[in-house]
């Protein structure tokens, strides 16, 4: 019987959404393979989480130890490589999150396991594992052939799969940690919360998001004017913050803010998934981009394929006329 393992991701006492997404896909794969799904739970007080996970998997394997309270990729790797060697899962799913990206590549390397990252779909044909992942900033998809092996590891993109409920009743089995202390070569120190800025983009009804297409910092002015004419606030995708043109608290996306305004206007933003994650909850999404194949148009309700520098002034003028 094939075993599917899912790593439970939690932080600061909360199970993270990716966990339920992985469990949903894990159940789907387990049922296709006539296999069983096990949730792997490492932590210092695992019973706070097991009740929430029981309905989602066939088994829960817990490793309880004080030094596992906060994620440490090296500690996790030491524990998980022991578990995988002993339990021989056919497939282990880990989130392609800040934690999973730190942990999974080195774990797969240690175990010599065929592995890839950031999968958005997983198919099984003739017992072969066929992952799909995106390349070139989401502009193309790639299906992969994996080397034949007894065990695979994949990391899965956040929000690639839904969070569905289930009616399983997992047994809880504990696994003894091979660790006696946190590794001396990597130590967790602390979490630092993001600084609070002067504008809260999560509270605005209309948000104008600006991306790489703006080219120069001085061009931000025309978007500020558009934001003013609509009574909205100016926000951005990651490259604008990296360039230092707008502060971090204006960044929309997985490492920034999640917004749910009435109207989101994406200007010069191609729409990489990290950005989409932060804005797909908007009531109406409108995008301006010169690339007709930009992924943003798969998420937007309305769009214009053109040069933003031609379009933005027109919209601003039309709004001014309407207000007269």
């Amino acid at each position: 019987m094939k075993k599917i393992f899912v790593l439970v991701e939690h932080r600061q006492g909360e199970i993270r959404d990716i966990t339920y997404e992985l469990l949903t896909k894990g159940r789907d794969l387990a049922s296709k393979l006539n296999g069983e799904l096990t949730a792997l739970l490492l932590g210092d007080n695992t019973s706070q989480f097991t009740e929430k996970l029981k309905s989602c998997a066939h088994h829960i394997l817990t490793v309880e130890q004080a030094i596992l309270q906060n994620f440490n990729a090296e500690s996790y790797q030491l524990v998980l490589s022991e578990i995988i060697k002993k339990e021989s899962p056919w497939l282990t799913l880990i989130g392609n999150t800040a934690s999973g990206m730190d942990l999974a590549p080195a774990l797969a390397q240690e175990l010599g396991t065929p592995f890839t990252t950031d999968c958005v779909e997983i198919e099984i044909e003739n017992d072969e594992l066929i992952p799909t992942r995106q390349m070139y900033g989401g502009k193309l998809d790639a299906k992969y052939k994996m080397q034949k092996a007894d065990s695979y590891i994949l990391t899965i993109r956040q929000a690639a799969f839904p969070q569905e409920s289930a009616n399983l009743n997992a047994d809880v089995v504990s696994f003894t940690s091979p660790l006696t202390q946190e590794p001396d070569y990597r130590k967790f120190v602390e979490y630092l919360e993001a600084a609070i800025g002067e504008v809260d983009i999560t509270k605005a009804d209309i948000v104008i998001g600006v991306g790489r297409g703006i080219k120069e910092q001085e061009n931000l002015k025309i978007l500020e004017e558009l934001a003013d004419s609509l009574g909205g606030v100016l926000a951005c995708s990651r490259p604008i913050v990296d360039a230092g043109w707008l502060p971090k608290d204006r960044q929309i996306g997985s490492s920034g803010k999640t917004i749910k305004p009435k109207l989101y206007i994406a200007i010069g933003i191609s729409g990489q998934f990290q950005h989409i994650t932060g804005m797909k909850g908007a009531d109406t999404i409108f995008a301006i981009n010169k690339d007709p194949n930009a992924p943003i148009f798969n998420e937007a309700d309305y769009g214009i394929v053109d040069d933003l520098f031609k379009i933005v002034p027109v919209i601003k003028n039309k709004i001014a006329e309407m207000k007269k």
């Binding site: 592995f115 992942r133 998809d141 052939k145 194949n293």
Partner: protein
């Protein structure tokens, strides 16, 4: 403080239309421009900043064909001390483990306190070379690094988590950091520095000089295709004056103006 920086030359795709070539495994590259991978450029800058503060040498390593010497040379102009190109032409298809194995064969012979890589290549998006290289070299690592402070044989680093939360960790040196964009403000090289770098030697290593067996591929791309179109946006057609008017009318209709 000796720092090795792994860099990759990649096509700039964020603002370009990308099409699959006739092989079905790769993209048409003719009309694309190429440059150093974005996060690698931040990794390079971070290495040069640390060298300027603490002394030592910055060595660049890139696996690629002769064109990648452009980005190595630009790295030298920005302050790196030496550069090695590992010739990729005889290695065929690469995956992250194979790339890391090849890089390791060269880097393991260098002296280093830190290895910097970018946290993700903008072409394949694998995000693996940093942590896999660390595992092969048996040194600790951190990915998505947004701050590095070195003191007393340790690097205290910030890792960027979801929602802007920062994880602070300590790594014992030597260590690998996969650097996130935005960690610093990458410099532009001066014309004089570019001219000087043009005269510098880039060491080129061929496959037979590495002393390794060809690593096996653990996976390969079977098909490459445009993503399935989801709910495609309603596109406003016409001149800028017409499309802009349609957009404004849509805002009004929804009661947003």
């Amino acid at each position: 403080m000796n720092i090795v920086v792994c860099i990759k030359r990649v096509p700039e795709t964020a603002e370009a239309e990308i099409k699959v070539d006739s092989s079905g495994h790769d993209i048409i590259k003719e009309r694309l421009t190429f440059d150093i991978n974005e996060s690698d450029n931040y990794a390079l800058e971070e290495a040069v900043l640390l060298k300027e503060k603490l002394g030592g040498q910055v060595t660049l390593v890139s696996l690629g064909e002769s064109e990648c010497e452009e980005v190595l040379r630009m790295g030298l102009a920005k302050g790196a001390d030496s550069a090695i190109r590992i010739d990729s032409s005889e290695f065929g298809e690469l995956d992250s483990a194979k790339t890391s194995e090849i890089l390791k064969s060269v880097i393991s012979k260098l002296e280093f306190d830190l290895i910097f890589t970018g946290c993700m290549a903008t072409d394949d998006g694998y995000s693996q070379v940093g942590p896999v290289l660390a595992e092969m070299l048996e040194v600790p690592h951190g990915v998505l690094v947004t701050k590095v402070d070195v003191a007393d044989g340790k690097a205290t680093i910030h890792r960027e988590l979801e929602g802007g939360l920062i994880e602070v960790i300590e790594l014992k040196l030597p260590a690998v950091c996969a650097v996130q964009t935005g960690i610093n403000e990458p410099r532009y090289a001066s014309l004089i520095a570019i001219r000087r770098a043009a005269a510098k030697e880039i060491k080129v290593l061929k496959k037979e000089e590495l002393g390794i067996e060809e690593p096996t591929l653990r996976l390969n791309i079977d098909t490459l295709f445009p993503p399935p179109v989801g709910k495609r946006a309603e596109i406003f057609d016409g001149s800028p004056d017409e499309t802009g008017a349609k957009a404004a009318a849509m805002f009004k209709e929804k009661g947003l103006v």
